[in-house]
């Protein structure tokens, strides 16, 4: 019986080969990637397009009938946002946060990477220690820094109090005062960003050709000159990759902001993410929240395009 089945299969096999061979060779690769494309379309493209559709409707979660597109009010959410002072304030705060946090993170990481590149002993231990902040979820980082900067029982005020730099009655409201609220959030964000940036820049530094540095040393270049005219320009592709990753990843800071100040007080640290959450999740205004999310996406795309163009330029120069 088994023998009969095997011989039957052998007879059928050539027929299958013939069927495959009928597929156009040009279409074959597309057939292979079709399942992956289908999954991506379902998982990524559909929700994105759906949220774009929702952004043109007055949809509120607890009013299911409001998920209703009409040409007359299609742009109402976008018009509303453009006339919304809180939106512009949130956008301004987000840009300030992004610019300061990313640039300062980069500068500190650049310095750290140069120092670490010179370490000859215990480099593995240093790298492991450096990676420690990456092991914390952003929400934990937020909680940790909120405690550090708590006016009543926080670490920072207690240290300042112990050193006699402030009085019991004059404890600093770190998370409240302007611009301390924003500064504390930026500090927490930088602490979280530094490991990734430093590792990328350290890898870049260690991969630079030694010959160039040796030639510069023969010519009598100082340490600063070697950094300014060799290391920094040659690191440009790594820098742009790191900055692109950081700019796209900065939305991870949402958890930190949410936990530390939640955009307050009095919207002093309100950012696009906290405002979107308030509108879409707490107030259930999904239409308005989606419109704001799409504006955020467009801004992120612009930032990324800028960094990619700089990256391409840097590579052409090299």
């Amino acid at each position: 019986m088994a023998t009969t089945t095997e011989s039957k299969s052998r007879e059928e096999a050539p027929a299958r080969v013939i069927q495959f061979s009928r597929i156009d060779a040009g279409a074959f690769p597309f057939l292979l990637i079709f399942p992956a494309v289908l999954v991506i379309l379902l998982v990524i493209a559909f929700p994105l397009l759906y949220s774009l559709y929702v952004s043109f409707t007055p949809y509120e979660l607890l009013r299911p009938n409001s998920l209703n597109f009409t040409w007359g009010r299609a742009l109402r959410n976008y018009q509303k946002l453009l006339n919304d002072a809180i939106f512009w304030r949130s956008l301004g705060n987000t840009v300030i946060f992004l610019a300061v946090s990313v640039n300062l993170s980069y500068l500190i990481s650049l310095a750290l990477s140069q120092l670490m590149a010179r370490v000859t002993m215990g480099q593995s231990l240093l790298r492991t220690l450096l990676m420690a902040p990456m092991m914390f979820a952003p929400i934990l980082v937020g909680m940790q820094f909120r405690w550090f900067f708590n006016a009543n029982v926080g670490l920072v005020n207690n240290v300042l109090l112990a050193l006699g730099l402030i009085q019991e009655q004059g404890q600093i409201a770190w998370l409240v005062d302007v611009p301390l609220g924003m500064i504390t959030i930026i500090i927490a964000s930088i602490w979280m960003n530094i490991p990734v940036l430093t590792i990328i820049l350290l890898a870049g530094t260690l991969s630079l050709p030694r010959e160039t540095f040796e030639a510069a040393e023969v010519d009598g270049a100082s340490g600063w000159q070697k950094f300014r005219f060799i290391t920094f320009p040659l690191l440009a592709p790594f820098s742009y990759i790191a900055l692109t990753i950081m700019s796209l990843d900065i939305a991870r800071a949402f958890d930190i902001v949410r936990i530390m100040t939640d955009g307050g007080p009095a919207r002093r640290t309100e950012m696009l993410w906290t405002y979107i959450t308030r509108l879409a999740i707490e107030d259930t205004k999904f239409g308005l929240g989606s419109a704001m999310s799409w504006i955020t996406v467009l801004l992120s795309v612009l930032f990324t395009l800028y960094f990619f163009r700089q990256l391409v330029k840097a590579r052409i120069v090299q």
């Binding site: 007055p58 979660l61 607890l62 299911p64 708590n150 006016a151 009543n152 029982v153 019991e168 009655q169 404890q171 600093i172 409201a173 998370l175 409240v176 100040t261 939640d262 307050g264 007080p265 009095a266 919207r267 309100e270 308030r278 999740i281 707490e282 107030d283 259930t284 205004k285």
Partner: protein, 453 residues
């Protein structure tokens, strides 16, 4: 003859044993909702969880055994998370559970998705519940929830400050009035300032300073002063003379260091921490923190505080001033899409029964049933600390007479999210009280118009 006498004595003994047993059964708190055969039915429940909230659900095995039903708890989440889950489930039609969590502050936004319960409960069954809470749960004539336990805020004050003759004399000299536990906002203002200015307390007062907690405290001060957030047409009225006076009071307290410098970052736990540390003279605080404050291992204020009924508001409100009493009650509801609504109702009857409610009240929650109040107050009579009983007696008065929910509109939380940042700006001195409240009123008007008011 002896035999007859013996039989008579035996009969009397038996009869009295039966009577005593019947009496003791009557004295014992009773379950409800066990009178229906629900064999083969699975009742799903999504409810609040965490900490002591979950102790009540242990009793469900009694319900299962008596009715034959199986109860499946599909979600036990904290207040914020269960609210989010329910909103999403209601919006997508996925609320396939028979019993859900509810709250008097949130019920208005859920009503299109809930089953009216008045036809499932007889007058007799509803009679033990606080009428004020049932009123708060009735919207357009429909009863949407059955209360589980409540909370409301009395004044908490540091007892040492009021028992010190030297401080009392100094206060009399400074203000010309006797130092008594405050009953009005103006008294609180005068006393809080006196305690701080004279170094008797680090802080005169505290309050939660963000989110719905801040909106609620303003709402409370405003209505205690005779005001109302909205008029009958839902036009904002919180920027009236009373609202401005309340906002100016808060801004003045912040500017003068009467309340903490990080007030606008504080929620309930942060506020409680200040009082726990013995740093605050007076505050309005939920009863729910009582056990924490009385724990000498955790709190310096343990054994050194007293309680009083909520304050009446500012005299700018004239004759309309009334006691504060922003309150809320956790509760049970039945989603309109429940597969087994009658079985869900039976489970609610059980969970809100005298026996289960009494067992939960023994954990420190404030009951919503009169019969349970009687029991817990009687139990507290033998407590070492007389404040245990005074607290319950006071709480019963407040829940019965002062219980006041926020406006029963679905837009309460969106309104709060508009309002509290403006109030924070006023407190921090960024804008004047009138300017800030007017801006909040303008935004609220737009939001209410969008919502169809």
């Amino acid at each position: 003859m002896t035999r007859k006498l013996f039989l008579l004595v035996l009969a009397l003994a038996l009869a009295s044993a039966v009577a005593v047993s019947a009496q003791s059964a009557q004295d014992e708190a009773q379950y409800a909702g066990l009178d229906m055969d629900l064999s083969g039915i699975t009742i799903k429940m999504a409810n609040i969880g965490g900490g002591q909230y979950e102790a009540m659900y242990d009793a469900i095995s009694v319900f299962e055994e008596a009715t034959g039903a199986t109860v499946e708890i599909v979600a036990l989440l904290d207040g914020f998370a269960i609210d989010q889950k329910m909103k999403v489930d209601f919006a997508t039609g996925a609320a396939d559970y028979d019993v859900s969590w509810d709250h008097t502050s949130f019920v208005a936004q859920y009503t299109p998705f809930l089953l009216p319960l008045q036809d499932y409960f007889s007058e007799e069954e509803l009679a033990p519940f606080s009428p004020a809470i049932l009123d708060a749960a009735t919207i357009d004539g429909n009863l949407y929830l059955i209360p589980r336990h409540a909370d409301i805020s009395p004044i908490h004050y540091r007892a040492d400050l009021y028992n010190d003759e030297a401080i009392a004399a100094a206060y009399m000299e400074a203000t010309g009035e006797e130092l008594t536990v405050p009953s009005t906002l103006e008294q609180i203002d005068r006393q809080a300032r006196f305690f701080v200015d004279n170094g008797h307390a680090a802080l005169g007062y505290t309050l939660a300073g963000k989110e719905e907690a801040l909106t609620g405290r303003f709402y409370e001060m405003h209505f205690a002063s005779g005001g109302s957030l909205f008029d009958e047409n839902y036009e904002p009225t919180f920027n009236d003379e009373i609202g401005v006076a309340v906002a100016e009071l808060l801004a003045g307290w912040y500017a003068d260091g009467i309340i903490p410098s990080d007030t606008t970052s504080l929620l309930w736990d942060g506020v409680a921490q200040y009082f726990c540390n013995n740093d605050v003279a007076i505050k309005l605080e939920w009863y729910g923190w009582y056990a924490y404050f009385q724990d000498a291992d955790s709190c310096a204020v343990a054994g050194n505080f007293g309680l009083a009924r909520g304050f009446t508001g500012l005299s700018v409100g004239g004759d309309a001033v009334r006691p504060s009493g922003w309150a809320g009650a956790h509760a049970f509801s039945v989603p309109a899409t429940a597969p087994n609504p009658q079985a869900g109702v039976q489970l609610i009857k059980f969970l809100s029964s005298e026996r289960v409610a009494y067992e939960e009240a023994q954990l420190g929650f404030l009951p919503t049933r009169g019969d349970v109040w009687d029991r817990v107050i009687a139990d507290a009579s033998g407590a070492d600390n007389p404040l245990d009983r005074e607290r319950l007696e006071l709480a019963r008065i407040q829940v019965g007479e002062d219980f006041k929910t926020p406006p029963l509109i679905a837009e309460w939380i969106p309104f709060s999210n508009i309002f509290y940042p403006h109030l924070q700006a006023i407190i921090l001195g960024d804008v004047s009280a009138q300017e800030g409240l007017d801006a909040a009123a303008a935004e609220t008007r737009e939001m209410m118009a969008d919502a169809g008011y």
